[in-house]
Amino acid sequence: MTLWANALMEGVLLGGLYALFAAGLSLIFGIMRLVNLAHGDLIILAAFVVLSVAAWLNIDPFAATLAALPIMFLAGFALQYCILNRTLGRGLLPPLLVTFGLSIIIENGLLELYSADSRRLHGGSIETSSIALGHSIGIGVVPLLTLASAIVVILALNFIFYRTALGRAFRATADDLEISQLMGIDHPRIFSIAMGLAFVVITIAALYLGMRANFDPTIGPERLLYAFEAVIIGGLGSFWGTLVGGIIIGVAQTVGAQIDPEWQILAGHVAFLAVLVFRPRGLFPLPVD
């Protein structure tokens, strides 16, 4: 019984990481209907940026992430403004092709710069710290921080979306691009701010990915798959939905692993397919989509 409870708990906490993977993807898709195939590789790129900043400044990964956030925001803004904006409004294919190409460039660029060796963000004693729940269940501090960060990120994104003028501009642009221009909304700039925000979320995801497990330049596409699944389970454009989607995949994986370690990844995908069968639009689809 304790093993199952532990598996369930681990799954919920793992869901926080998947929600962080998914939130940036959901943000971008929700505003500009851009499917970013480079999202997973961007997470890995951000992990290497945090790793490098931590090494250069000799600081811990949390401080390095704080230092990297403005750099990554600007990188996201520039990527959108200079490249991705040019692909929008010309059908589905151009953004798919460009982001696919970008993912290949990032992966190979990282292999060239950092080699294929596995890396890890070392957070010191916090990595092994845990909080005991009763005699036999313990919650790792880093996984708990991951879930808490996912919740804070989603709260912040919801605040921006539903309580600020910028959020109104995001939603108006997503609703009707042509009419949003009549409101004085400069949509290339709005899209670039959105991508900058997505990069901030990506960097936070990268911190916890790097502290939780080893990473190397080739593991991006798998993160993209988890992010996609969490977004689709939750319902496109719903931030809380991404958290629920992430938790469902996380729990499915840990419960699957509990049954048989080889079932871990498969169980996550099966859960995704099961949700698709019964709720093709996800669990929390937006009323306007």
């Binding site: 003028a165 009549l182 400069d186 937006l286 306007v288």
Partner: protein, 233 residues
Amino acid sequence: MALLETRRLTAFYGDFQALYGIDTVLQLGETVAIIGANGAGKSTYLKSIAGLIRGPAESVWFDGQPIGARQAADVMKRGITLVPEGRRLFPSLTVEENLLIGRYGRNVPGPWSLDAIYTLFPALKARRNSASTTLSGGEQQMVAIGRALVSNPRVLLCDEISLGLAPIVIRDLYNALTQIKAAGTSVIVVEQDIVQALRVSDRIYCFQEGRCSLSGRPTDLSREQIHLAYFGT
């Protein structure tokens, strides 16, 4: 000097030419109506002024500046706003959010605060937190007008605001236009409803197949002249 002027304005949709050298003038404080049958080019004319269709810079002049090549967001920031045909409210925004987004690009002091919009259209105040999709057609049109007004524009462009609405609602909307004009905003109204257009306007232009077929003051034009210019027969 005219507040807004089009000079030999042309507009194209791909290879199709929708406007053929339209010359119009809007003076400060004036209300001008553009009338004409379906496909005459009225909406294209408004879109060209608003920057949704761009052409040579010198084809549209506002306040002495050529703006024909400017983007819509830039035109709005200069003080020209459009109430689009079919309302086109933002469905994911509430009524009040739809109004507030109207001043995203331009927030200048003037007579049209949020409270003033609610005074102009009292029905909206009680629905301020409702989803815009739940409103009646008339209420949606009020939101669309309020959204264009809340930035205190110098020129308000209205595209077929009576389309699909009950006569009593149309009357209320046109009464509101009279108040908007009285507050100092210049207005261009595109209409198929000739009676309403003639009632509120200082001058009219009649469009036929992308060309201006008639212009003048409503009081100076006969019913036959308007009929001929409108239908071409």
